[in-house]
């Protein structure tokens, strides 16, 4: 698609020629994930997580569809349909459910690595702004889907999580409470809320899949980025996606799925909360209400606002929580540095790792009952989060002197490997007449 040397699809079998003239679907696949998509040859393993996210989306959709065949979306029946019918009586129901439950966590793990990869290597910069923004749309849809999915077993955390999260809306003056009641279909989470959450939980993954197609489409226009951030210059800089990256993605996917399998089979409840094995009880509030781990940083931001400064603290918290994600849409214009890769940006790199530590600490602060220490750490880290993106990043990108960039991707690849690659040169291409002249 993107480069003139991309291999064109040439159907050999008469049926494939016949099909290609009528419905060029194989041509699209060939150009998107086959030999027809030239990819920079220097990608490191952080570039494997996009494909992994696709694998986990597929796992979630497949296990989810089968689970939905056995699930009862009623307040009386939901808990037992999960914990009695599916976990005990459905053939391999326990496997489907644990795979789905932990699949959600692993989907978020790979997505977070994918997002931080993008933050470090400047994947949000021109010409890939839309790739980044569509990715954020996927992430928002994932959050909505995961939240509604967590409500479905109708345990204590399901119920009280739904109560707290829909309660965000009531922070807004005047319109907030009517919106909350409209969303829930009642004054508190009940049958109406459960049924619509189930319906939307089934719908949204397919919306995600559609946006994933747009995300990949938008990616294939400029082509994939790479760890140097240098543009692809010619054919030497790229390799066809198949077989090179299918092979790399393939073995890495098997290795990563091994980690997922170990958690799913040997510690399936490690990432969950015990309270969700207690049936929902609207009259008994749990000792602590915490969301699933992948929402902890945002929960910490929400809880960090404890002082009514002009506006009520709760409204500040809700605004900040939404802002913490929405600001990422502005990232391409907040970071004006022409250099994409963090590897060549010494100052940016330090702040990047500070951000990683900051988000991990925010997760810790949001993951437990509020103590004075948790609150203080959460407040400091939340403040840094906003300052990092909205103040520090624009200043850093204006002040910093980046390191010299390599001339091309292929030069950076062979840097230090020249001796090893010297003896053989099957398809050697000669350039660099200046250097040759100097050497002579």
């Amino acid at each position: 698609m993107s480069f003139s040397w991309a291999k064109a699809y040439e159907p050999k079998h008469p049926f494939m020629r016949w099909l290609d003239e009528r419905l060029p679907l194989p041509r699209i696949v060939y150009g998107a994930t086959g030999p027809g998509y030239p990819v920079p040859r220097n990608l490191n393993y952080f570039w494997n997580f996009g494909v992994l996210a696709g694998i986990f989306l597929t796992i979630q959709i497949v296990t989810g569809i089968v689970l939905a065949m056995h699930y009862y979306a009623t307040t009386d029946g939901a808990f037992n349909s999960v914990n009695q019918l599916i976990m005990r009586d459905v053939n391999a129901g326990w496997l489907l459910r644990y795979a789905h439950m932990n699949g959600a966590s692993f989907f978020f793990i790979v997505t977070y690595i994918h997002i931080f990869r993008g933050l470090y290597y400047g994947s949000y910069k021109a010409p890939r702004e839309l790739v980044w923004m569509l990715g954020l749309v996927i992430y928002l849809l994932m959050m909505a889907t995961a939240f509604m999915g967590y409500v479905l077993p109708w345990g204590q955390m399901s119920y009280w999580g739904a109560q707290v999260i829909t309660g965000f809306f009531s922070a807004f003056p005047l319109v907030g409470e009517p919106i909350r009641i409209w969303l829930l279909g009642g004054y508190a989470p009940d049958q109406a809320a459960l049924t619509r959450f189930f319906s939307l939980h089934y719908l949204l993954p397919f919306v995600i899949a559609a946006v994933v197609i747009l995300h990949i489409w938008a990616l294939h226009i400029p082509g994939s980025g790479n760890p140097t951030g240098v543009d692809v210059k010619d054919e030497r800089d790229t390799l066809p996606f198949h077989p090179f990256y299918t092979a790399k993605d393939g073995w890495f996917a098997a290795a990563f799925l091994l980690v997922y399998a170990i958690v799913t089979f040997f510690a399936p409840n490690y990432l969950g909360h015990p309270d969700n094995y207690i049936p929902a009880n609207p009259l008994a509030t749990p000792a602590e209400i915490v969301p699933e781990w992948y929402f902890w940083p945002f929960y910490a931001i929400l809880r960090s606002f404890t002082f009514d400064f002009i506006l009520p603290a709760k409204l500040w918290g809700v605004l900040a929580m939404f802002a913490s994600i929405l600001l990422l849409f502005f990232l391409p214009w907040l970071d004006k540095s022409p250099v994409r890769s963090g590897s060549y940006r010494p100052l940016f790199k330090r702040f990047f790792w500070l951000l990683v530590i900051d988000v991990i600490l925010l997760g810790w602060a949001g993951g437990g009952a509020p103590t004075p220490l948790r609150n203080a750490i959460g407040q400091i880290c939340a403040a840094y989060y906003f300052l990092h993106f909205l103040v520090i990043l624009p200043i850093v990108s204006a002040l910093e002197t980046p390191l010299p960039l390599p001339n091309s991707i292929s030069e950076s690849v062979l840097h230090g490997e020249a001796e090893e690659a010297a003896p053989i040169g099957q398809t050697k291409r000669r350039g660099g007449s200046v250097a040759t002249a100097i050497a002579e």
């Binding site: 040859r41 914990n83 009695q84 005990r88 326990w94 496997l95 644990y98 077989p243 090179f244 092979a247 790399k248 073995w251 290795a255 799925l257 091994l258 089979f265 040997f266 409840n269 015990p274 207690i278 960090s304 606002f305 404890t306 002082f307 400064f309 603290a313 900040a320 802002a323 600001l327 502005f330 907040l334 004075p372 203080a376 400091i380 403040a383 906003f386 300052l387 909205l390 103040v391 001339n407 292929s410 030069e411 062979l414 840097h415 490997e417 020249a418 001796e419 690659a421 053989i424 040169g425 398809t427 050697k428 291409r429 000669r430 350039g431 660099g432 250097a435 040759t436 050497a439 002579e440």
Partner: protein, 306 residues
Amino acid sequence: MRFILGFIGAVFALVLTISLISGLSTYFSSPPAPLASEEFHLKPKPLHLASDGPFGKFDKQQLQRGFQVYSEVCSACHSMKLVSFRDLKGLGYNDAEIKKIASDWKVQAPSLNPDTGEPATRKPLPSDTFPPPYPNEIAARAANNNALPPDLSLITKAREGGAAYVYSLLTGFQNQPPELLKKFPEAKTPPNLHYNPYFANLNIAMPPPLTTNGQVTYADGTPATVDQMAKDVAAFLVWTAEPNLENRHAAGLAVSVFLLVAAILGYLAYQNIWHEAKRQVRVTGALDPENQAKSRRAKAKQGVAG
């Protein structure tokens, strides 16, 4: 636009700083009073069961003993609504034994009188779930000083600490330590509650259920000490919460070995494919190995070292 966004960021940071300062000043001006439930609460004692670990399997003798403790002691107050009699096959009972256990169960299953259609009861069948000791929550609370005995089907998954928590709680009943009363005179255990340091707020409504050695006479002759009974019932409750544990461990092993082999083969294939790619790449300019060789030769000719 960047100024507007920067301003928004600064405002959030400012409000957070105010929140931080107000929180810290409250903390230092009026530090939170220590709570007895924080200082005297204990983490569960370690408990090792045959089902622990990635290769764990149930000890069926122990599960049967635990089931005996449940049926003779716990089931007086605690329901186990998600488990069916037929599931007891997992404990090693045969069909005839299960049929007998079901029909001998001390609570009858609800049914309808086939002639009049009026509510009635009948002997439970293997396909029934364990009939609860109380017909509803109100009856359960009325019989237990307004406390509700929780259903035990999932209890080891529904409590932090799991089986170790159940074991510790059952063996943790004791008199309130005098130093607690000295430090927190108002934290004296109220009447009808029982001091137990493994319970979150230290005072539990459940009276000590396992009080004397030999309270249950084990069919397999194991001495029924309080500690043994507590361990056995904790092991049994791991099974009720996770009856497919052995299947899960076996399948997990097979899947992990499969993925490991797939990853190794995939890695070798990847090495094989990329070997070609590494040979194909040639760089231009000063890093071109041929140019480097030329450069070395030229330097050598001129007598320059290196």
